[in-house]
């Protein structure tokens, strides 16, 4: 299989699996209310999910943990976000600060 064909197969497989994963909950469980207990848990689900995404994307590079220029950029953006600065501004500050630190030799 040529490399190009390999990539097309990958794209098709990812499209199918992603669609199935996103459809699974609504197809199997949709159309009726969930038990109250499960509902109470779902209300609080975003916090650990998002915290895990933030922590791993800011502090992990593949299987290694560590602090780099991007960690500093994200930390400064965190302060701006907390003070309710607009998201687009925070994102641009995070990227610009990270780029400056890298230009100054920080990994």
């Amino acid at each position: 299989m040529s490399q190009s064909t390999t990539f097309w197969v990958l794209i098709a497989a990812m499209a199918v699996t992603t669609a199935l994963i996103k459809a699974a909950g609504p197809v199997v469980l949709g159309g009726r209310p969930l038990p109250a207990r499960l509902n109470a848990v779902i209300v609080l689900m975003p916090a650990p999910l998002l915290a895990a995404l933030v922590a791993t994307s800011a502090l992990a590079d593949g299987p290694r943990l560590g602090v780099d220029a991007a960690t500093v950029g994200v930390a400064v953006a965190a302060v701006l976000l907390w003070r309710r600065a607009p998201l687009v501004v925070c994102v641009l500050v995070a990227a610009a600060l990270t780029a400056l630190l890298r230009a100054a030799g920080v990994p």
Partner: protein, 229 residues
């Protein structure tokens, strides 16, 4: 046009700018991994799941096969199973119609559409996803074509965008006091698993651990307050 859909468009607009920047860095990385610009754009158009796309391209670009690449993408996407279960009661219609509506599920929209009482505003979800999808595909096109001019994405600090994006969503959740200890547990568990598990597993395990702990506690009255992000 329905009011909720319009409101979703407005709330989703800033996230579409972030989607554009993130997917531009994806476009650069994908072309570096050997995909053609067309393949990078098609992947974004038919998959539309950032962490899964980055994970798959990193593996296939590193010489891995299709099976491990798709497996990593699926693990990165596994959170959508849990998010889809939460969304399910708020999507009406027959099974295939509900499954179709579930395709609009992306992280920012899911958070924005959450009414805070266990229900979701599906029209707001569709509205918020629309500009993000456009930003995602256009950004990929830009990155894939301009990658040669830009060089590495790290030089421009683009790798700081993804965490900042999720942090913005997280801070909205932390205004609810009951969410705070769960966020700490989630972050700690995920970081503890990073060195030992494939991409995507730490995030899913972190959410699961925090929620299993929560299920053992009496219902928290603060969850009744209701809050929209």
């Amino acid at each position: 046009m329905h009011d909720s859909y319009r409101r979703g468009l407005r709330l989703g607009a800033p996230f579409s700018v972030v989607s554009f920047l993130l997917s531009a860095s994806f476009g650069v990385v994908a072309v570096e991994a050997g995909l053609s610009p067309l393949q990078a754009v098609v992947m974004s158009a038919v998959v539309h799941a950032g962490s899964a796309q980055f994970a798959a391209v990193a593996i296939i670009g590193g010489g891995g096969g299709i099976v491990p690449s798709v497996a990593a993408a699926s693990m990165a996407n596994a959170r959508f199973l849990a998010m889809g279960i939460a969304l399910a009661p708020s999507l009406p219609g027959r099974a295939h119609h509900r499954g179709l509506q579930g395709q609009a599920n992306v992280d920012p929209s899911w958070v924005l559409a959450n009414n805070g009482d266990g229900t979701f505003d599906r029209r707001l979800l569709f509205g918020a996803t629309t500009p993000q999808y456009a930003g995602w595909v256009l950004g990929t096109l830009t990155g894939a074509l301009a990658g040669d001019l830009l060089g590495g994405t790290e030089r421009f600090g683009l790798d700081a965008i993804f965490p900042t994006f999720f942090l913005a969503l997280l801070l909205g959740e932390l205004r609810r006091p009951a969410s705070r200890p769960l966020a700490v547990v989630g972050a700690v568990v995920a970081l503890a698993l990073v060195p030992f598990t494939p991409a995507g597993v730490p995030v899913l395990a972190a959410a699961a651990t925090a929620l299993v702990g929560l299920a053992g506690l009496p219902p928290d009255p603060t969850t009744e307050e209701g809050e929209t992000a």
